[in-house]
C-alpha cells in the first residue's frame, strides 16, 4: 500500500532532491510520476531500483494522483496546480504562486503543522530563506515575543536552480584560466564576487526575496505585525544559505536560555565550539536536514537584542525536505 505521487519539475535541482528524499525517507509510494515541461521531458531517472521516464505535464498525467510535489516555478504552478487539485490530488507547491493566498496554508512543519488541516487542495512550501529563518526564530518567539528582525543573507547559487550552480562552477573555471566570465542565469558574475539578490525590486527598494521573508514569516509564525527588514545577497556558494540575524524581543531573552531552547528545538542543530571558532558553515550544512545555528550572543547595541548565525541546505530544508515533511504529516495525520 502507498500513495500515487507526482513530481512536477522533476529534472530541476529541487525536483531531483524530492525524488531522492522520497526514497531515502521511505515515503510510502505506490506509483511515482516524474513530470516536467515538454522541453525537459524525455530523459529517465532512477527511483526504487527502476528507471522512470520524465513525461511532459498534462491533465491526463495529473489524473489519478494522491499528491503532487511541484517545483517548476510560479507560472507552471498557476497553470497546473488547480488542474491537479480538480483531478483529486493534493498539491504541495514550492513556488511563490499561492503562498500568500488566505485559503492556502503556508507551512514549516516545525512551526505551524496544524495549518495543514485547513488545506483545500493546495499547500504552499515557503521561500527557502524564510524556512531556515522561521525554524530557528519561532521557538524563541514562543518563549519571548519577537518584535523586530534585521537579517542579512548569504544565499547560494542553488536558489536560482541547477543551471545557476553550473554557471558558478563554469565561471570559476573561467576565472582561474583568465578567460572572460559568461553570464546567462545571473545578471553579473558570481565567481569570486557577490551581489544583492537579483529578484525584481519594488518602489520601496526591497527585492522580491526580501518581501517574501517579511510576508511569509508573518504568516508562518502567525505574527501579523512582526517588523522585519532583510538584505538578501547572492554569494559564490553552491547549495547552502547562511543568515546573520539580529532579533529584538519584547523583553530580554538571556543567551543561555536561547541556547537551551534551540538545543531542544526540532529541525535545529546547535553548532557552537567557541574554542575552535567553529560555527555553522555552508559546507557543513550541505546535505544535512537540520538548520545549523550558532554564535548566539547578547546584542551589545540593544538590551532586548540577540544576534545569531544560521546556515541550512537550500535545496533540502529550504525546499525539497520541507515539502516531503509536509507530505509525511498529511499522511500521518490523515489530512490528505
Amino acid at each position: 500500500m502507498g500513495y500515487r505521487v507526482g513530481i512536477l519539475g522533476a529534472t530541476g535541482a529541487v525536483g531531483t532532491e524530492m525524488r531522492q528524499l522520497l526514497a531515502e525517507r521511505q515515503f510510502p509510494v505506490s506509483e511515482l510520476r516524474l513530470l516536467a515541461s515538454p522541453r525537459s521531458a524525455g530523459q529517465s531517472l532512477p527511483f526504487g531500483g527502476e528507471m522512470l521516464p520524465v513525461r511532459p505535464v498534462s491533465a491526463t498525467e495529473l489524473a489519478g494522483l494522491d499528491m503532487v510535489l511541484a517545483s517548476a516555478g510560479a507560472s507552471v504552478s498557476r497553470e497546473w496546480a488547480p488542474i491537479a487539485v480538480a483531478k483529486g490530488a493534493v498539491v504541495i507547491d514550492n513556488s511563490s504562486a499561492f503562498r500568500l493566498r488566505e485559503d492556502v496554508p503556508l507551512v514549516v512543519p516545525e512551526v505551524n503543522p496544524e495549518a495543514l488541516s485547513q488545506h483545500r487542495g493546495i499547500i504552499a512550501n515557503p521561500n527557502c530563506t524564510t524556512i531556515l529563518l522561521c525554524v530557528v526564530i519561532y521557538p524563541l518567539h514562543r518563549v519571548q515575543p519577537l518584535q523586530r528582525v534585521v537579517v542579512a543573507t548569504y544565499q547560494s547559487a542553488s536558489g536560482a536552480g541547477a543551471r545557476a550552480m553550473a554557471e558558478l562552477l563554469q565561471q570559476t573555471r573561467q576565472f582561474l584560466h583568465n578567460e572572460p566570465l559568461t553570464t546567462e542565469v545571473f545578471p553579473y558574475p558570481l565567481a569570486f564576487n557577490l551581489f544583492p539578490h537579483n529578484s525584481p525590486w519594488n518602489e520601496q527598494g526591497y527585492c522580491q526575496e526580501e518581501m517574501k521573508m517579511l510576508h511569509e514569516s508573518r504568516k508562518i509564525m502567525g505574527i501579523p505585525d512582526l517588523r522585519l527588514t532583510a538584505s538578501c545577497v547572492r554569494v559564490p556558494v553552491l547549495r547552502a544559505h547562511a543568515e546573520a540575524v539580529n532579533l529584538e524581543f519584547a523583553q530580554p531573552l538571556p543567551v543561555a536560555q536561547a541556547r537551551a531552547i534551540l538545543q531542544q528545538s526540532p529541525g535545529v542543530a546547535l553548532v557552537e565550539d567557541w574554542q575552535k571558532a567553529y560555527f555553522p558553515m555552508p559546507i557543513d550544512a550541505s546535505g544535512q536536514d537540520a538548520v545549523l545555528v550558532g554564535r548566539i550572543r547578547q546584542d551589545l547595541s540593544h538590551p532586548c537584542g540577540l544576534e545569531l548565525w544560521l546556515c541550512g541546505d537550500q535545496i533540502r530544508k529550504g525546499a525539497a525536505l520541507n515539502a516531503v515533511q509536509i507530505a509525511e504529516l498529511l499522511v500521518q495525520k490523515g489530512w490528505l
Copy 2:
C-alpha cells in the same frame, strides 16, 4: 625635494599597494626604504623605475626617515614604531596596536582629518571594515545623528593577507579537481564556503573584528555612545569587502536626502541602477579608491531606519590608500 619614506611590511599585500600608491599618486618621495621581517627581506621590488632591495627592519634602517608606513602586524608595530618615532619619523600604522590609545589619532581623512594635528609621532590607520563603514555613514550622521548601527559584513580573503588570497585560489583549484582542500591561513576552507570572521572571541561572543568596528567607529566619528553591533563573515572573494548596513537615526532621514548627501560625500561613489539591479559589487570595487554605496532604502521595520549596501577595496581604501591619504594630509597641512 621630497620626503624620506619607509614602508614596513613592504612585501605584504598592503605594503605592496602602499608602494604602488606612492608612485601612482606622485607622493613627493626623495628616498624609499622597503623594510620587512628578516624572513621576508632579500627580494627587490620596483619603484620609480628602479629596483629597491627589501631590507630587514632595524633601528639603523629606521633612522633618517620622515615617515614610516607600517603594515606588518600589531606585534611588529609595537616593537618598531616607538623606535622609528624616537629616530624622528612619523609612523602611520596600519595595525591594531595603537588604535584605541588616547594619545594616538585614529583617522579616516574624509571623516576626522583635524585629529591628525594632535599626533605625537604615531597615527593609527583604522580597521578596513571600519574605514569603509565610516566613510559612508559619517556624512549621514552629520545631518541626522546616528543612534544605532546593525551591520553584517562580507569580507574578502585579502583582509588576512596575500597568503590568504593565494590559499583561496589554491582551494578553488583543488575543489574543481576533486582534491582535498588544504587550509593553512584560514582554519576552514573558504572556497565555495564562508564562515564567521576568524579573529579571537571575547566572553560576550563577539570577535575582535566586530569589537574593532564598535570601538574604532566611536572614536573616528566622535560618537562615544554609538550603539553598534556587527556580524563579521569571511566570504570567498579576493580583495573587496561588502557590508549590509542597517542604521537608526534620532529622527527619520528621508532616502532622497541620504542619497543627495552621499552623492556629494568625498570618497563615496553612489552606485544604484534600479532598472538593471546594478549595485556595488566586489569586482567593481576592486582597484577603486571610492567606497561604493547603493540600495539606500527606508527600513520597513523602523520609522527612523535606513538600509544601505556598501562595497570597497579592502587593500586600497580599507588599508593602503587611507594610510597614503593620511601621509598626503600631513604634508599638505604641515603637520609632519
